[in-house]
Symmetry: C2
Subunit: 415 residues, 2 copies
């Protein structure tokens, strides 16, 4: 049996036990894991140095090195994250629906864990702890497969938290880290149909495509955000500028940041110069179609490829559209289905935009940056689903569950 | 562009229109489709003969020929099915949840169609009409891929109902039949990621495995039912016999029929002879483990393979277990996760069984034959999901939807 298959089987066995553990037992384990991270911080920082060293040798970028770096403060934040998850409501056991059939059978639809959740992720070692915490609270075992860059950090993190979970009487095997960092191990993990119930890739578009193409395990696609702001002809210009600047620049490297700006032709002459000025003051590079470039000087030309691209940087592509129909059609064609906003004072435009734009989050007069589990009040999230099956938008504890029907009778048979 | 890709694109375009159609418009179209089936019945029966003829030439089995045969009465039943779907509540537009954020943003979670649903199915032409009706009511376009055996029947059915839908001002393209019946067309359909939102295979275990192995489109697995009855030591023997006979024989060829009988050792000596007598009177062949065969004479020996097999026939495999733990472990190992029942008078056994058995439907003192959308009161179903992602158990209109977040503000930006 390969390493990956063995991990899958261990996780499956642990999942059966974890599924029926009480909320108190899970919360105690989460708090113990948090304490263990804090007291284990010096060890974790020490082991993290090995990843940083080989990162330096490989010449990986400064931004990536920063994400990879674990400090006592960052480990403290991870621990705090686990305590927050412990404080969240346990979705398992919730009776979602229930009724009595004509023949007297009592039907309940009860929330249960998914079983075994697989996470394939890049760089950031904090995903290891965040994902393990959310999975454990929702009663799921987790199989983690991080990047080779972070293998020493991920290994020590899983050692520390799974030991603490085990001491707190949870099945230690409920957290499994795939230690081989070669591609074959990841591919094998994607084929563990029957052992892993769902795979959630967290990383760039390339990783997500690879998982979708190769997985027989059901996949939830997350986190690709080619988000649009559409400024309607009736928009409040000041509000439109403020929202555009916020959505683009408040944190440009994240999936809910705006990447595209569509502007109604009737307002472009007034809005675009003001927006361009404010955006450039924040260091944003603008790319535009011909109409936008005719209004704002010094814009680069936007090419077809740009309309599909998630820049994740201080770059914004701008297009002038003739009407709402063109804006909706453009979003339908190029968007990744994450978050889109209309800025308008017109009731009908707002209604049509929210009715017809088919993305996870559709805004009227607000920044796309709010698409986030914590911002929405749903709590910590394991990712933002940009697909329609099972979960859409921020995925938190409830989205890590399934349901089963429990039917109680006194001898009913079918006629 | 291949036929399949072209169909996918047409369906995707039609889905955008269908998503925002009113319930009245969809219901009128469903009723028009029902009327068109009734008035088109002579033509449909005529075209069906071509399938029956080539079926006879290929020497396909009597049961299959029966499923393939369309009569005016059967077409009338399909029409009635569409009228029932028209009478069901439209899930689209339902506000599933909603709240106000601290900053005043109003969040709504609104039910929306999935988009394009792909169905790959075997034999029965009635699936064509049933699936098209449920997809249309839930605002989804549908791409249908039936078996080559039924191609003439499926073609005329889609012609008749899509013409009626078109006349009733629905996008005609919302129902697409894949006309090539070779394997490549089906494989290509499984790779239409981005054009098809979900694939639902309906057929035998082989078909489902092929779809899971080859699909990049998300798949919902349906309808494999290796269902268990567990007779606890405290069971009412008369009730246990009645439920076992019903679950096995009331309709043996369907997915919610019992395939396995587990019996507590303490009651096996009393229960098994009574059950065997009643089952054999209904023509059931019994296979047993050594302990069962020591109690009931003339049982065939059950082999390892039998415990995994969905017989779909008047065959029942019987095993004597030492306790509830063994029963739960056996079900966990061999079940397909469809429906399982415990027959017991003991409160604790019932509670443990419903808590620990991880299947779509778990019964206490009732027949597994009730796992069905109509029986549950959920209405007509497109299949019974045996997986945990997105939907579990009977899938009706609600299970053919997703949700999106609509957020309304007055200029909110993130700090």
């Amino acid at each position: 049996m390969s390493e990956v298959e063995e991990l899958g089987k261990k996780a499956r066995a642990a999942a059966s036990k974890l599924a029926t553990m009480t909320t108190s037992a899970k919360d105690e384990a989460l708090l113990a894991m948090a304490d263990a991270l804090v007291s284990g911080a010096p060890l974790i920082v020490e082991r993290n140095k090995a990843d940083l060293e080989s990162g330096r040798e490989q010449g990986i970028s400064g931004a990536l090195m920063d994400r990879l770096t674990l400090t006592e403060a960052r480990i403290g934040e991870m621990a705090e994250g686990l305590r927050e998850v412990a404080a969240m409501r346990d979705p398992v056991g919730e009776i979602v629906d229930g009724w009595r059939m004509n023949n007297g059978l009592a039907v309940e639809k009860v929330r249960v864990p998914l079983g075994v959740v697989g996470i394939i992720y890049e760089a950031r070692p904090n995903v290891t702890v965040d994902a393990a915490g959310l999975c454990m609270k929702s009663g799921n075992a987790v199989v983690l497969r991080g990047s080779s860059n972070a293998i020493n950090s991920n290994t020590v993190l899983v050692e520390v938290i799974s030991e603490a979970a085990g001491k707190a009487r949870l099945p230690r095997d409920c957290m499994q880290l795939v230690r081989s960092t070669d591609r074959d191990a990841a591919r094998e993990m994607m084929r563990l149909h029957g052992l892993i119930d769902v795979l959630i890739p967290r990383g760039g578009a390339g990783l997500i495509r690879t998982v979708v193409e190769n997985s027989t395990v059901p996949v939830i696609e997350t986190g690709t955000g080619n988000c649009h702001i559409y400024v309607d002809s009736s928009a409040d210009v000041e509000m439109a500028v403020a929202i555009t600047v916020n959505a683009k620049t408040q944190r440009p490297g994240v999936c809910n940041a705006a990447e595209k700006l569509l502007v109604h032709g009737d307002i472009a002459g007034v809005f675009l110069p003001a927006a361009a000025k404010a955006l450039r003051e924040k260091g944003v590079t603008l790319k535009g179609d011909d109409a936008a470039r005719a209004i704002v000087e010094g814009m680069e030309e936007a090419v077809e490829e740009d309309w599909y691209t998630e820049f994740l940087d201080l770059i914004l592509a701008v297009k002038v559209v003739t009407d709402l129909d063109e804006a909706i059609a453009h979003i339908g064609k190029y968007s990744s289905g994450h978050s889109e906003a209309i800025i308008t004072r017109d009731y009908g435009s707002g209604k049509r935009f929210t009715d017809e734009v088919d993305s996870a989050a559709v805004y009227v007069n607000a920044s796309t940056r709010f698409t986030d589990g914590a911002q929405f009040g749903m709590g910590a999230e394991i990712g933002i689903s940009t697909q329609k099956l099972h979960a859409r938008g921020p995925m938190s504890l409830t989205e890590l569950t399934s349901a089963k029907f429990v039917i109680r009778g006194e001898g009913q048979v079918r006629k």
